[in-house]
Each structure stands twice: as C-alpha cells, then as structure tokens.
Symmetry: C2
Subunit: 241 residues, 2 copies
DNA sequence: CAGTGGTCTAGACCACTTA
DNA sequence: AAGTGGTCTAGACCACTGT
C-alpha cells in the first residue's frame, strides 16, 4: 500500500518515522507505553521539533500511536476505544454500534488450504491454528467466523484459556506481540448452508454477507485470514467514504 | 462526521479551511481551477504560509482539492483518476480494478418513498428523479442500480441527453454544481428477484450484495440515494482498513 | 529560468494534564 | 507550576513543473 517508487530522495521525517516504528516493532516501546516527548526525541535524532512531529503525525494517522494533548503519545493498544471499531463495521441499520459477544465453537491445528495459504502468504499445507466462533449482536447470533493464523507465529494459540477474549487482536498483541495495523476485506453475497442454519438460525439457501479479511501487522505481514458470514436481517456492514 | 463540540477555541487554520471551502462551494473557484498559490493566499489572509498550508492540507485530505508539486493546487473534479475510485469499490477477486460500463434502463420523475425521503433528508412525497441502470464489469452485467435525487436540486435531470456519462458524479458537478465529497454505504445480502434475473442473468433467489449509499456534498448535504445490487460471482467489494 | 508545492528549521506561545 | 502535545510564525532551501 505504501510502496515508495524508487525514492532517490527520502524526506527526513519519513526516515524518522521508520526509526520510531522499528523501535515499536522490536518491542522497545510495547503497546500501551508512552514514548518520549517530542522535544526529547527531536534532540535524540538531532532534528527540529517540527520534523519530528511530522514523523509522529504519520504514525498517528495510521493508528500506530495515539496522541493525548497534555499527557503524551502512547503506542496504540487494541483495547483503546478508538481502535476497537477500526476493524468492526457491523452496526444496526440506524448506524449505531453494538458490542459483539463471542462464543468459540472449535479450535484446532490443521494444514492450510490453498486459499488460506495464499491469503497468509505461506506454503500450502503449513500448519495453522483454526478457530471457529459465533458472534452475537443485540442477542442475535449474527456472525459465523472461521479464522486461521500461522501456527509458528502464534505458538500454542490452540491451548489458550477456554474463554478467548472478545477482541482477539488484543490477545494477539498481548500474548504474541503481533499488532494488527491494517486489513483488506473482500465482501460478497453467499447462501447459508447447514452450519449457518445451525448456528445463525437462518434457513438453508438464505442470503448471507461474507467478509474475507486479511489482517496485517505493522510492516504489512499477513497475520490472520478470517472469513465471516453475517446474517444481515438485523445488522449491516457500514462503510464511510 | 466532523462535528466540533462547541469549540470555545477555534484554530486559525480551521477557520481558513472553511473560508477556502466556502469559496469553492460558492463557485468562486469551480472544480478544475487552480487556486492561488500558498504564498499569495497566506498574504491575503494575513497568516503565515505554514498555517495556510495546514488549511489546504485538511482540504487535500478530504479530496476537496488535489496538490500538484510544481504546478499548484486544483479543486478536485470527478474525472481525475484519483477521485474515480473513491466511491467505486468493486474489483476482480485479485484486487485489480475494472472500469464499469453503464446502460440506463429507466429515467423518470416520481414521489419519494419514505425510505428515500429519510435518506435524502426531505419530506416524503417530494418529487425526485429516479434513474435505473445496469453496470457491466468485464463484459458481465454485474450491478443493477436504482438511484434517486431531489428534483429541485437537479432540475430537469430526467431530460439530460440519452447517453448519461458513466460517472454520474461528473455530471452532477458539471451541470448542477453539486460535488459529491463523501458517502456512507450500508452493505447487506439479499436475494435476486425478477428484475435481477432479467438484467443480471442470475437465477431468482440467488444471493446478491446490496449496497445502499447516501452521497453527500461538500457540506454534508445528502445529494443522492443509491441502491446497487451486485452479482458477486466474478467481482467483489473491496475495503481497505 | 521563475513559480509552485514539499521539507526543514528555531523559536514563541497556547491549551491541556498532572501533581 | 511543570511538562506535554497543538498552534503559529518567518524564513531558508529543495524538488518538481512549466516556459
């Protein structure tokens, strides 16, 4: 997405942005910690405050850090209110948000299918952790989700405590040091099968909204491939352009 | 969306941003024209170049203007490549874009339904122009679109030349001085009916992706309400987060 | 070459948070 | 009151576009 086309000239603030990012990625500044003040950082890097600000601005725009006037700049966590809905677009028809409740149906290791391998940019047959869950919105079982992650990147995820947190990305961040920073979603319409009939309470053949998401880390690595099938009788997917 | 909560303090660059915007809205700087240089504007408003830049930056971020290094800053038009795909999210499954070709099926004036009136923020029964068309992607009739606009805002739209341009928003801008700046889309899954069977060549009861879009002008006024039903056999809706 | 936007500087002051 | 990010200034220089 942010491909620089053979730069030949690289603005200072971009170099500093990457320097800061590498300190976040490497774990020097874990999520939730306040990074040094702008004046301190500008001195450390030997640049003006204005230039350093542009670097931090860029990170703030990508939700990697969050600024708080008077307090400081914190590395973003997936429990901060703001970040919660960057990846969750299902709302009531009037546009109001509703918090999902999750129930895990299945959790096991297996080999990646071709589709999953391509999405995760790994070899077909690589061992992945597969989790299936339903998500309840306003007491309606609205989504049936299947997601896979590379087992090497998330060791022993299948043995995590029985009650997985509602926001899985928080778990990825806290237990596996993997922060989801962006994602691509492909949406299409499909028909409900037996599984959806059973878990979502819809009739076989009824239309569902399918969302295929590739979630990516701070440096664009594919972390998770997720397929959600949603009953859009009571909720819809909202996108603002 | 950009609601300021009783500011009590209003940064200079925001005031200037609105001053610039009002000159665009009022037609002093129509779409496609280059606005004065940053130094000229900074002198006119009696602020520093840096402050004026922040104002223009804000407009550029909202795609109201487009900067061109070495040339100047131009008021955005709907034919500029960049702006074309802000509102068109249908792609092939590999993510590559494909240009739509449109064919108008119907065009007439009638009274707004309740749903349309609410979307357009007008009274139920107000006269609207209703256009129905199909859009072909890669030689596949992929979308069936129904859209309505307030007839008062778009006088005699129903009498426009038989061959409406492919990008309607370009027409809105050139003939009616209405620039679409942002939009909200609600996505859900529906089943195909007779109309979709006839025009999209899908079977009755097969699943379709329905997109309900409210397109808004530079100041947030609802300009158009559009419902698209898409056959997602060969294309999908792509969203990057 | 002149003119544009893009980067960078050094410093002042303001608004907000915390102690 | 001290420290943070947010605004604003005035000016220098760089990269890109036209003529």
């Amino acid at each position: 997405m942010n491909d620089q086309p053979a730069p030949s000239y690289r603005p200072l603030y971009q170099q500093i942005k990457e320097a800061l990012l590498s300190r976040i990625v490497s774990g020097v500044w874990p999520p939730g910690t306040y990074i040094p003040s702008e004046s301190a950082l500008s001195q450390e890097y030997g640049v003006s405050v204005g230039t350093l600000r542009k670097a931090v601005d860029a990170l703030a725009n990508e939700h990697v850090v969050i600024r708080h006037q008077g307090k400081g700049t914190v590395v973003a966590t997936h429990d901060s209110d703001r970040s919660l809905f960057q990846f969750f677009h299902f709302v009531r028809f009037d546009g109001s948000r509703s918090l999902p409740v999750s129930r895990v149906l299945q959790r096991r290791c297996r080999q990646a299918t071709l589709e999953e391998a391509q999405a995760l940019e790994i070899e077909e047959g690589t061992v992945v952790v597969h989790i299936q869950r339903i998500r309840v919105l306003d007491d309606v079982p609205a989504l049936l989700e299947d997601l896979v992650v590379d087992a090497k990147r998330f060791p022993a995820l299948e043995n995590e405590p029985q009650t997985l947190p509602n926001t899985l990305y928080q778990l990825y961040q806290q237990k596996f040091s993997q922060s989801v920073a962006k994602a691509e979603e492909r949406l299409l319409a499909v028909v409900a099968g037996q599984q959806e009939q059973k878990h979502l309470g819809v009739e076989i053949g009824s239309p569902l909204l399918e969302v295929r998401r590739i979630a990516r880390g701070l440096q664009g690595e594919a972390l998770e491939y997720r397929v959600s099938r949603c009953n859009t009788q009571h909720h819809c997917y909202l996108n603002e352009l």
